[in-house]
Amino acid sequence: MIFSYSLKTAVTGLKTNRSRSLLTILGIVIGIAAIILIMSLGQGAQQLILNQVQGMGSKTIIVIPGREPKGPSDAAQVFSDSLKIRDFELLQNKENVPTLGSVMPLLFTGVSASYGSETYRPTIFGVSPLIQRIFDLSVSEGEFFSDDDVRARANVVVIGSKVKEQLFGERFALGEKIKIKDRSFRVIGIMPSKGQVSFFNFDEAVIVPYTTAQQYVLGIKYFHRFVAEAVSQDLIAQTVADIKVTLRESHKITDPDKDDFFVQTQEDLAARLGLITQVLTLFLAAVAAISLVVGGIGIMNIMLVSVTERTREIGLRKSIGATDRDILMQFLLEAVLLTGTGGVTGIILGGTLSIICAFILTNFVGLAWSFQFPFFGAFLGIVVSGVIGLVFGIYPAKQAARKSPMEALRYE
């Protein structure tokens, strides 16, 4: 039999039981739609994280005290006081790290700040003026503190829009004094609302010179981070190596395994976070794939019923010259058409749901979400649904083909 007529026969067979065919493919539709939705959300999340990471600038290098956490047992080692002022000075020396563009110490803590009777608990960042460039920050009112302020341990702060709103409301904030740890700090700048940048929300931040943060806020002599920038992106690896050598020398470490600090680049971070979301997406997609197996069993069940119901039709077709192969093809094609249609419908449904999710996440949750269509997922969905049709259709189709024409014609 010519293939196009086999196809036509199968389509007619399915149309004859339209509502049953539709119900049968529902399992496949839901399964494929779930996979598409999960993969789309996974890709969207990955893109979001990458955008966040890149918001810090791709040349950025971060030095973190403590041993690099390789597993849960290392978590306790994360907090350490190994990054000292001496290290900062050594890193700034061009002879040690020639490809280093700039370096800034970073301290952070959460403490209460108050103005009059209003109290708020912002994140306090102790930094140098370089933060403006590294995180692309600016002030809408007043000005940022200067290197002189850093040297003088000036009690000045730049506050985020949320902090301003919480402490001052509609009142004028510039030049006012807020209290942190019983010490007065003069507000010299206010930042406009910016939302989340690289996991930091500067709207809820109070930024002070790092020297001030060390002495008056935290009372420590070390730093929480060094945030450095390479001269150019190609020189990141060189810069990281030089930083490591410099700090090891300074800390008198000979065995790199005993490092009391570790260096993270934006690239590392992006790759690591990307991997996490990828694994998570695959895991969820695998869970959704279980529904495809269930759907496939449903298809097999209905195909078996259909073969029994159409026993006389099979007998007739055989009596007018259909070979076993013709009958096998007819029922197999019906199964593959069922699952294939289910797959395509599922992709359309999943795609539509993904667009709706992207719309909600952008407009109601406020994430910088972008809709991602998982082309690989769609391709996989079509292939998988077709294979399910073949796998779960072959048994009923064989049952049909094996029927003796005389027995089949006699079937009541």
């Binding site: 077709r317 009596s319 007018i320 003796s404 005389m406």
Partner: protein, 239 residues
């Protein structure tokens, strides 16, 4: 040379170790262009005989030659092929595909043939014309009367110009008026178009439309007689 030649053909059904003989050695021949009725009561073995003749079942003993060739030597594909191009079947229950138009139903055997699709419509229409059903092309079986359904089924059996048409109680489900029309159509196919016809029935009045009656009883041929006065459909068909 006979179109169909059976020699001492037997058929034994084996069910759970119990052997039930349905045919106990049947011998006869059918020539091209003959109209033979096989008669007998229920359980006489006439249906089994028809199934064996129509390649729908296999005999267990004896020899069956179709167009001179021993049936046992055919491969499965050849059997399907012969059923398709050399044999036409008419069933008591019509066996038309539901929700499929008359034209598509008649075209069904063509789907499994070597005939190029361009000529399918013309062939199906020609077959429908010979049974007087050309005016119902786009109807579905549910919209037809019993007699009309059977005439469509006859057109389907005819469409590939087979060597022999097997009719298994074709009037069994019909009222006398429709039955008369159907038997007239079958007789017409034999006389006007020279088709070989093997008809199964348990009614003498229907059988008498044939040229020859083979009576089967308990799996054996009881008598094989020429009909001296072949009944005409317009002479009154008695159900």
């Amino acid at each position: 040379m006979s179109l169909i030649e059976v020699k001492n053909v037997t058929k034994i059904y084996t069910n759970e170790g119990v052997e039930t003989p349905a045919l106990r050695g049947v011998s006869f021949g059918v020539k091209k262009g003959e109209f033979v009725a096989i008669m007998g009561p229920s359980g006489s073995g006439k249906s089994t005989l028809l199934h064996i003749l129509g390649f729908l079942d296999e005999h267990t003993g004896g020899e069956y030659r179709f167009e001179g060739k021993n049936v046992k030597s055919y491969k499965p594909e050849e059997i399907s092929n012969i059923r398709n191009s050399r044999m036409g079947f008419i069933f008591q229950a019509f066996n038309l595909l539901p929700r499929t138009t008359v034209l598509e139903n008649v075209k069904l055997p063509l789907l499994y043939s070597d005939v190029p699709p361009e000529s399918w419509d013309a062939m199906a229409k020609k077959a429908l014309e010979s049974v007087g059903m050309l005016h119902r092309l786009d109807h579905e079986p549910a919209q037809l009367s019993g007699g009309e359904k059977q005439r469509v089924a006859i057109a389907r059996a005819l469409v590939l110009e087979p060597s022999v048409i097997f009719a298994d109680e074709p009037t069994g489900n019909l009222d006398s008026k429709s039955g008369k029309m159907v038997i007239q159509t079958i007789q017409n196919l034999n006389e006007q178009h020279g088709h070989t016809i093997i008809l199964i029935t348990h009614e003498t009045s229907t059988a008498e439309h044939a040229q020859r009656i083979i009576r089967v009883m308990d799996g054996a041929i009881e008598s094989d007689t020429k009909v001296t006065h072949q009944r005409r459909a317009d002479e009154g068909y008695v159900k």
